[in-house]
Subunit: 205 residues, 4 copies
DNA sequence: AATGAATGAGCCTTCATTCAT
DNA sequence: AATGAATGAAGGCTCATTCAT
């Protein structure tokens, strides 16, 4: 009989948000439970009530992060019409002012580093990539259906596109002094357009 | 008058190798000085004799790693003739049997994650990327000189090529179940060839 | 809502007492945090909960010690009537059976030695001496007011008296085989009485 | 067959000087063997050749220091004529420019603090004090012989005088902001003169 | 539901000492 | 005589986790 039935959801969201924030700020290896408690405005015991261990909490934080980012990608893609526009609809990845991005890159890089030595994490990553590939290959398949593209393996191509996005994004984030936002956007658009060019019906830019 | 004049160099190499190995195996955050001592076959104090602190040691390990990988890239590129072949000379990145690669990806991912919160590391990364870009843009410039390519910004393009390599490589390494070596090699070759296609004199691809 | 509201005060007192005891027993340089934990009946982490570091703890221990000793001096002085009796009211300094003294000399000597290289400690010492001088010069000033003494700089004289007490006390404590309690008490009484003699109205000594 | 017969003496002096210097600078508890090696211009092994252990070295350093200071006291006293002048011949204790004093107070305070927990050191201290007392009581006895003083226990008085010197000196050294050299010299002269006054024949300054 | 006091294992670092050369 | 590489014990501090209230 919880006083407020949604209390658990509220608290968990509060904690996840604190996790997101602190991990982004200090990095997984440097975040302590105390950091998270402080940021969440809860005590150690209070936090323990909702997450059995640091490990469980961190997994949830990353899960939450990956869900959120993917959600954004799907929503943004849904707002444009043509398949080509859809696969090119990710300039938001290079938006310095987007708070999700400020948190996203630190988390993604931390997450990947940990994944190397952790099967649980690797699986989350696998699923996430799977989602992106499904989203992108869906757009490509739609393009084939509509007759925009011909002769193209949607899944393999979607993987390549996704990898290009990520490769460019990491560079842009990690070394901004020599990788401007302009470079990043031109790069991914160019690379993806050129990749698809051989498979496009004339007149589609 | 040390018994062996090169003792310091030998020991440092021994320690760096141990660092490389243990970091790759367990991840930066999980490696202890004891792990490294044990692997290097030295005592705690012996190690301290050569590296003042864990941080100094780790920086040296990463420096060593970056040097080594870049060396390999430069050497491999030097073995092929045409500029196009040169920029495509990186299939060794996708060689599972290459011990440098088995160590390289864990290290690279750890390194990037730490760099987010560490200016020293970020600078090492910046320099390393600079080296790659110089190497690749050199090949592109040579291509322009030779007349293979026209109308192409060597540096910006080199950055894009390098980012594509890295994006594809990380996918390949992190999620091999759905990113085969075949996919990786096809992906990068395709993406880079297509990227350069508009700038190539007829008959080259 | 701690179980006992004064828990923090209790624990801190417990820890300070353990610090006092162990430092007196083994000396600052030889006391480990484990020693103090064991003596205080707390774990390492428990102690860390109340004192951030060994240094902070030691500073508090000394502060506590100095407060306690000064308190005793003030109280003892308050129990006698005449100004001369007041400035001579410190035979308790030479009481072997006083547990505060058993702890006090080891601490004082350790403290002074550390102060030489530590400004924080030096300031504590400065303040403590300031307190004694104020106390003693107050008594002297009262003596002047009452007409017991004439023609005497209360502060400079108080400093001299205080220095004599300490000089005699250290000898007495450090080399008891040749500095008996009798010698100590006779010495300080004699030295101080003689020092004041020229400034005393007839009939007082 | 040492190459130079006096080499051992030279090296030992070199090491002791380094010990004196480093202990005075950093304090016993903070001086490392490396500090001393560096200051002495010798290697660890070289130092070990002459002093079995840190403890042995430190004991010798203190011995050396005590000898040196006492020597100075005796020499200075020998330069004045009357017994009263002799017992008052210690203003050099309050000479900030005297390098022996700059080293002396840190060492003395460190030494006394350690002595509390160390019988070897305590014995050295005991002997040193014994020397001073002998020196001072000798002067007093001479005064009695000469007829300058009457009715005075030379040894007990010498102890008191010595304790006054030390008490004033420690204050002067430890808290110079409120204990000027002027105060120190006036204090000890006054206190000692007054102490002796009742025992002095008329007309002896 | 929530607090925060308490635990104790683990880690990096320091440093006196040893010893082969 | 002298070097300095190597050892390894010891210590202070951090921090995830537990638990009584």
């Amino acid at each position: 009989m919880p006083p407020i039935p949604e209390l658990e959801a509220i608290r968990k969201a509060q904690i996840l948000e604190a996790g997101l924030k602190t991990i982004a700020e200090r990095g997984c290896a440097n975040v302590t439970m105390d950091d998270i408690c402080r940021t969440a405005g809860l005590s150690k015991g209070g936090l323990a009530h909702y997450y059995r261990s640091k490990y469980e909490l961190f997994k949830s934080v990353f899960q939450e992060f990956f869900d959120r980012i993917f959600q954004r990608g799907r929503d943004t893609m849904a707002r444009v019409d043509t398949p080509l526009e859809k696969v090119l609809s990710f300039d938001w990845l290079y938006d310095v002012d987007n708070p999700d991005m400020a948190v996203g890159y630190p988390l993604l890089l931390d997450f990947m580093a940990i994944s190397v030595h952790n099967a649980d994490y690797r699986e989350i990553f696998h699923d996430w990539i799977g989602n992106w590939v499904t989203l992108l290959s869906g757009a490509l398949a739609e393009g084939i259906d509509r007759g925009d593209f011909t002769d193209l393996d949607p899944v393999a191509t979607a993987r390549t596109i996704s990898a290009i996005y990520q490769g460019v994004a990491i560079r842009w984030y990690m070394d901004p002094s020599t990788h401007s936002t302009e470079w990043a956007i031109t790069s991914f658009q160019n690379a993806i357009r050129r990749l698809l060019a051989p498979h496009m019906k004339t007149g589609t830019p």
